[in-house]
């Protein structure tokens, strides 16, 4: 049952997601803005201050297109807000008044082109909140762990077998006694060689299993969840406030390292966000309550920032985070390969990061785990014209001799793709 429910949930989500994409694509084809491009622009330029459904520094933007009386003024506002303020456009003046304490909006004059702004507006206009109750991605979500149940059943059956065997032996002895057959003195079961042999085999098997599994796990740090110098909650940032992952982990698109954000990136938002006033209380993995505002203060001490004064970025000291994900030196892993070229979601490898207060290592990061994914994952074969050189596969796909091309098909499990 649970199984079905989860499939249903995925299906629903998948449909919604597809619709979103298809429709937004359609909309833009007809309208003036391209929502897909708008999304990219939005995530690159806006997410540090705006979320769709939530106020961060600036207002929540869902419905903003409807709220603004004049679409043209909204366009101008996004592109060059000082101009709109200078023109004293009433709606804009209201916004300015309301968010005065959070600081003025960045002026994008020169950075965003008119078409870019149209795209962003198209994206905002087409935004539909994710359907409640469904999770964006549920990678590797254990689909009901029945191991315990099976274990108990096995144990119960084993005990029953054992009892029945004993009963059988006793009955045989009684029967023998009755019929006067001379019976050997019964051997108690702990001296019974068959039982001892059986027990030894079982112990050997079980012990062997755990030894092997333990040995394989040596040097791997799955579930590693260290205490960090600052209680930084991904749940608060990426989950509740929907800050785009790439806003902070800027290297993800560009290179091998996702990069841990530098202090100046934190301060982009935290110059204005001085205290934690989220509704949910924060707890460490050990269950201790955490004062979010105090943690922001820790950031300030690293940044060398005193509230109310201008921040001198040169005073900042780097934060020594504890590294969680470690790959051996002889493995080459490139984030941009997976995220940009492969369009893999962060959650596939990092788990439900949006629900983690403190991050732990979700995946084993073992070679078997990598290889398994490379075997099953399909590359964006028809979308990415890099793959046009694979003529044979292209033909097969055209002739429906193949429905998709996996990473393995194009050599993604060969040694020197990751080891050189």
């Amino acid at each position: 049952m649970t199984h079905f429910r989860s499939i249903a949930a995925k299906l629903t989500f998948g449909l919604v997601f597809t619709f979103l994409f298809l429709f937004s694509g359609h909309l833009c084809a007809q309208g003036t803005g391209n929502a897909a491009n708008g999304k990219t622009l939005f995530q690159a330029n806006c997410t540090s201050c705006h979320a769709m459904e939530k106020e961060i520094l600036g207002p929540a933007l869902m419905g903003a297109v409807e709220r603004w009386p004049d679409k043209k003024m909204l366009h101008n506002w996004i592109q060059h807000n000082p101009g709109v303020i200078a023109a004293k456009y009433p709606y804009a003046m209201g916004v300015v008044e309301k968010y005065k304490s959070k600081g003025a909006m960045t002026d994008f004059n020169g950075t965003l082109k008119s078409q870019d702004v149209d795209d962003i507006i198209a994206y905002i206009g087409s935004y539909v909140p994710p359907v409640a109750g469904t999770n964006p991605v549920q990678p590797g979500q254990p689909e009901g762990d029945n191991t315990l149940l099976f274990g108990i059943l096995t144990l119960v059956l084993a005990i029953i077998t054992f009892v029945l065997l004993q009963v059988n032996a006793n009955l045989k002895k009684l029967a023998d006694d009755k019929s006067g057959v001379p019976a050997e003195e019964p051997v108690s079961f702990w001296k019974n060689k068959a039982y001892i042999a059986f027990g030894t085999v079982i112990i050997f098997l079980v012990g062997g299993y755990y030894t092997v599994m333990g040995a394989i796990g040596l040097g791997r740090t799955q579930h590693f969840q260290p205490k960090q110098p600052i209680f930084y909650s991904h749940k608060v940032h990426a989950g509740v406030n929907q800050v785009n992952c790439m806003y902070c982990h800027i290297g993800t698109y560009q290179g091998k390292q996702a990069t841990i954000p530098s202090v100046n990136i934190c301060m982009n938002c935290h110059m204005a966000i001085k205290e934690y006033n989220g509704t949910a209380k924060l707890y460490t993995a050990e269950g201790e309550e955490v004062n979010g505002t105090a943690e922001i203060q820790k950031l300030y001490s690293y940044a060398g920032y005193t509230a109310g004064q201008t921040w001198d970025a040169t005073k900042a000291k780097p934060i020594e985070w504890v590294r969680i994900h470690n790959l051996p030196d002889h493995v080459y892993f490139n984030h941009s390969q997976h995220v940009v070229a492969g369009k893999v979601q962060c959650q596939t490898c990092h788990g439900e990061i949006t629900k983690m207060d403190e991050v732990y290592q979700f995946a084993p990061l073992s070679m078997g785990w990598c290889i398994n994914c490379h075997r099953t994952t399909k590359v964006h074969f028809t979308d990415n014209s890099f793959y046009s050189i694979y003529e044979k596969f292209q033909d097969k796909i055209k002739n429906h001799a193949m429905d998709s091309v996996t990473v393995e098909n194009i050599g993604g499990t060969e040694c020197q793709k990751c080891h050189y």
Partner: protein, 1057 residues
């Protein structure tokens, strides 16, 4: 395989790498049977068996048990907490893990090459050529490639010193300023090697203006005085013109190693190779005659080479002039040489306006004659361009000689020295030392304690060029800019800033530089653009122009030449090695370990002798089986003592075919002061090689680098080990010898029957399905698809000049360890790419030379893969032969089975990757240990694994570059660009470094890629090494074509091993 054996029986070996191979000697045959040249360290081989060994079986089991348990415990303990520390403030243009390329300029003693520095996480790790430079077009040299290692040299001076004691920069400034003020009007001399930076020259003149009577002296270790002064006499210009080898159909070189060390080798190699590229449909190429004394890189590339004595250089030039003028080659007694001169003259005369004669002599008279020849050939405005002058070498030796005199007379108040190192390179170093001791204030800007800096009171170390701002004008009108790629590692300062400071200027050199260029480039925008490009070129290429020739001095020059000293029994010539130069390369382990193109020797200089002289001098007849083996198989060589004018040096003798029989050669640049770095000293603590600069002498205005009459005798000293590469890199199978590794033919043969090689291949492969079906039918192994990319490489032997830039580029790109002399002499060299040098021809004293770069051939049916018991080497679907270090258990079966001998085994822990100190100390050289310190390791490429002891390694086709290039294309949602319209997503390191574009690499599945085009347009010259073995190499070669008249019997259909 019978075919293979037949061929061996049928055909003589026409190409040979060693004398043993020439004679097919016993030792050569034996070596061919043994993969490893020394016995493997199996213990207990004789007597007592395995159990009597120091580590018998029980010990082995004990160790095994202990190590397993220890490993389990160690691994089971808590995992170490690693910190991940991001920037406090991330600079916008730095993304960790992503390389940035900054255009800058390699400048060393007047040599200028525009380059890009690859910077990873703030560290420059690799130098690439700058393709925007019209001079070098992206080409580099071995020394340019190696220069990044100098940045991280642990022997660099880390602070200013006074009398050897540390000083702060401020204190040095104060103290030097006070001393300058106190010299009481005595002249100050700024002594430098050639400076071609316009702003530096301006800073110098500002400084000089403050100290009236002062002067700037430029001194080059190996100067071009003769040319500069001859040009003054002939053209009224005290300068060197631009040479245009690309406009020359006939080139004659007289002792000018223009592809290796003369003036601007990268530029000339590029020009020269343009006319050596062959269009198979219409095969034409330039013709190159070379007259020289000892085998040089350039002479080996020549179509025809003739040998003469060093003292005859002038006579050769005069004879050539006479012959060009139709009077015949007079005054030359050697008939071969005479015929050669006449032949060259005939060709020159037939190609007036497209002919060029260059000469390496430092004698003004000889150069005047050469000018006369060039004038007669109407070279001015065609192959010699006076509209653009070359500024690489401007020093005139007489100026420096005068300075030495003045210093000794006490007439100099202060000397500030940059670049020049006369206490080592001047023939009379004692005079330099005594002169410096008489100067009140001596300041050196040397970045290390070199021979001259040691004699100076103050040393204010200059930055490395990768830490510096600057500019250079290698040729008039062509500017190359220099920008720092890293903050100064030590308390050093650019010497121009020091000069400005001491001349009382308020600005530092950067603002000085900016002011200068802002004015010329119209402000910051122009400057930024120029800095980004790295070069400022003239808007339109200036039209080539000649200069009026004044032949008045020619008769006097001729009579001076005729009256010059005649040579004695044996003459000595001092030459520069491609890697070491005049000693600049001696500090660099990569360059010391780069094999010399001809001798293949590393880590030493030696006496080069001809095979003929070897018979009488060291009693070795190289055509005699036993004697040749005795000489060749054992690295220790007999030593000879060379005496001249009270100077004496004892060095081992190497027999190098291509050396004039009465001439010996010794390379300069060795025997450096040990304090300049680990690379300059041996493990025993001696200097590497010996200094022979004292054998030079001042002849009028220029230093001459030969002695007409030296006394050479066999020394009683014990034999001395010379670590040579290559001779051990051959291996024969029981099925037969290696044949046809390399192919060569003459232009005439090629014109007559262009498809000879193709027919040969077809004929040979016919029984196995012919060329078309050979891949599938010639084997019992299966066929595997290359569905998307099929990497391929093509090496044009016609344009490869054998300079070795690729060897060092590969070192830098792939973290290849330096193993040191001892290991090289045990044949443990690690280079992934080597340049094989083949000899051919009947004249053992003057054979033909071909260079063939050999790296892993990435065979599609690779013999190494089948024999690996753990599948540590296997094939990718892109055609690359992959080597997986972490799987490798070191059986070496693969190396055994490789017909090309390109696999390299880590016999010791060269890199420190094991982290067991026990594996290093006592096993490897000091210089290798030195490469493992934290500073030097900054040069490592973080994308390439550092290999540990006990694993095999080899060329990976730069796997990291392939992955990066593919990713770039994928991210941009487009097909891979590999050379179509000269657009590249990736170039492998050797390809990028090559000054002549001899190496082309790319996706052979793409019809439009450069590699496919190269293969399609050269069907006749294309061949694969050892194709008949059915190893299916993904590297192909284009056969060497030599432009010779005669259908040389030895060249025709020549096959070699």
């Amino acid at each position: 395989m019978s075919l293979l054996a037949d061929r061996v029986n049928m055909e003589q070996n026409k190409h040979w790498q060693s004398f043993g191979e020439l004679n097919n000697s016993d030792a050569f045959q034996k070596a061919g049977k043994d993969e490893f040249k020394e016995d493997l360290p199996f213990e207990g081989k004789e007597g007592g068996g395995f159990f009597k060994t120091p580590t018998p079986r029980r010990d082995f089991l004990k160790y095994l048990g202990f190590s397993t348990a220890a490993a389990a415990i160690a691994a089971g303990c808590e995992i170490p907490v690693r910190k991940s520390i991001p920037f406090a403030n991330k600079p916008e243009d730095i993304v960790p893990g992503v390389a940035d390329y900054y255009a800058t300029t390699y400048v060393q003693d007047g040599d200028v090459v525009s380059v890009l520095a690859k910077v990873r996480d703030g560290r420059p790790i690799k130098i690439e050529g700058n393709e925007l430079s019209p001079i070098t077009g992206g080409g580099t040299s071995a020394r340019v490639q190696a220069s990044v290692l100098d940045l991280y040299d642990s022997a660099r001076l880390r602070f200013p010193t006074m009398g050897g004691k540390e000083l702060t920069l401020e204190a040095a400034d104060k103290s030097i300023a006070a001393e300058l003020a106190g010299i009481g009007g005595a002249p100050v001399v700024i002594l430098t090697s050639t400076i071609n930076s316009p702003t530096t020259l301006q800073a110098i003149s500002q400084f000089l203006a403050k100290y009236p009577g002062s002067r700037h002296v430029q001194y080059d270790a190996v100067s071009h005085t003769g040319m500069i002064l001859a040009n003054e006499a002939s053209y009224g210009k005290r300068a060197i013109p631009s040479y245009r080898f690309d406009n020359a159909k006939v080139v004659v070189g007289i002792g000018a190693d223009f592809l290796g060390t003369w003036l601007s080798p990268v530029e000339f190699a590029r020009q020269y190779s343009k006319n050596k590229k062959i269009d198979e449909k219409n095969p034409t190429m330039s013709r190159h005659f070379h007259f020289e004394t000892v085998a040089s890189l350039t002479g080996s590339n020549a179509d025809e080479r003739y040998l003469h004595r060093p003292s005859e250089t002038g006579a050769v030039a005069v004879a050539l002039m006479n012959a060009v003028n139709g009077q015949g080659a007079t005054g030359i007694s050697d008939p071969k040489l005479k015929a050669g001169i006449e032949k060259a003259a005939k060709e020159l005369a037939a190609n007036k306006g497209a002919a060029l004669v260059v000469c390496g002599s430092n004698d003004v008279n000889v150069q005047v004659v050469v000018n006369a020849i060039n004038d007669a050939l109407q070279a001015g405005g065609k192959t010699i361009d006076w509209s653009v002058t070359s500024n690489y070498k401007q020093g005139v030796d007489a100026d420096f000689a005068k300075l030495v005199q003045d210093m000794n007379a006490g007439a100099v108040g202060a000397v500030l020295i940059h670049g020049a190192n006369p206490a080592y390179t001047w023939f009379d170093a004692a005079k330099v030392a005594s002169g410096l001791s008489k100067v009140k204030l001596t300041v050196s800007f040397s970045p290390r304690i070199d021979e001259t800096a040691k004699l100076c009171k103050y040393v204010v170390p200059d930055n490395h060029y990768l830490e510096s701002w600057g500019d250079a004008e290698p040729k008039s009108g062509y500017i190359s800019l220099m920008q720092p790629t890293i903050n100064p590692l030590f308390k050093t300062r650019q010497w121009q800033s020091s000069l400005l400071k001491w001349s009382g200027a308020a600005t530092d050199y950067l603002s000085f530089l900016k002011t200068y260029w802002f004015a010329k480039l119209g402000g910051e925008t122009g400057w930024d653009k120029a800095l980004q490009d790295g070069v400022i070129n003239p808007a339109t290429e200036p039209a080539t122009a000649g200069a009026t020739f004044n032949g008045g001095g020619v008769p006097a020059a001729v009579s001076a030449i005729n009256g010059s000293k005649k040579g004695g029994t044996t003459e000595l010539v001092l030459y520069q090695k491609v890697a070491i130069g005049a000693g600049q390369g001696a500090i660099n382990p990569w360059l010391q370990e780069m094999p010399d193109p001809l001798s293949k020797a590393t880590w030493d200089n030696y006496v080069v002798i001809s095979p003929t002289m070897a018979k009488s001098l060291i009693g070795v007849d190289v055509t005699n089986n036993g004697q040749a083996d005795d000489y060749e198989v054992n690295p220790p060589k007999r030593q000879v003592t060379v005496k001249f004018n009270g100077q004496s040096v004892t060095l081992p003798a190497l027999i190098i075919p291509g050396t004039q029989i009465n001439t010996i050669g010794i390379a300069v640049g060795y025997g450096r002061n040990k304090e300049i770095g680990l690379a300059a000293q041996t493990d025993e603590g001696d200097a590497v090689g010996k200094n022979v600069f004292p054998f030079a002498s001042l002849n009028g205005n220029g230093v001459q680098f030969f002695c007409e009459n030296v006394d050479v005798s066999l020394s009683d000293d014990p034999k001395y080990v010379i670590a040579q590469e290559q001779t051990h890199s051959s291996y024969d199978t029981p099925q037969g010898k290696r044949v046809e590794v390399m192919k060569e033919l003459t232009l005439n043969d090629f014109k007559k029957s262009p498809d000879d090689i193709l027919k040969d291949r077809e004929h040979e492969l016919a029984p196995y399905g012919g060329l078309e079906k050979f891949e599938k039918q010639g084997t019992i192994y299966g066929y595997y698809d290359k569905p998307g990319i099929h990497w391929g490489m093509s090496v044009d032997l016609n344009t490869c000049v054998g300079c070795g830039a690729c060897v060092v580029a590969c070192n830098a790109e792939n973290n290849i360890p330096v193993v040191g002399k001892r290991e090289v002499s045990r044949f443990h060299d690690m280079h992934w790419i080597r340049i094989d040098r083949y000899y051919s021809g009947d004249d053992i004293d003057n054979p033909t030379v071909v260079f063939q770069p050999l790296m892993c051939q990435h065979c599609d049916n690779a013999p190494c893969e089948n024999v690996c018991p753990v599948s540590a080497t296997n094939h990718s679907s892109e055609g690359a032969n992959q080597m997986i270090y972490n799987r490798c258990i070191g059986t070496k079966y693969c190396a055994n089975n490789c017909p090309f001998k390109v696999r390299r085994f880590n016999w010791a822990d060269y890199t420190g990757a094991d982290s067991f100190p026990h594996n290093q100390v006592g096993h490897i050289s000091e210089v290798t240990l030195g490469m493992n310190d934290d500073l030097t390791r900054m040069v490592l490429n973080p994308d390439v694994t550092v290999r540990s002891r006990g694993v095999m390694e080899k060329c990976s086709f730069c796997a990291q570059r392939l992955q990066e290039g593919k990713l770039k294309a994928k991210k941009e949602n487009r097909p891979l660009k590999s050379g179509e319209n000269n657009e590249w997503d990736l170039k492998v390191a050797c390809q990028q470094a090559c000054p002549t574009n001899a190496i082309v690499f790319g996706n052979a599945n793409d019809k439009n890629s450069a590699i496919s085009q190269m293969r399609q347009s050269n069907p006749y010259r294309l061949f694969h090494s050892l194709e008949q073995l059915h190893v299916l190499p993904n590297v192909n070669y284009l056969a060497k074509v030599r432009n010779r008249d005669e259908e040389d019997a030895t060249m025709e259909e020549s096959k070699g091993a």
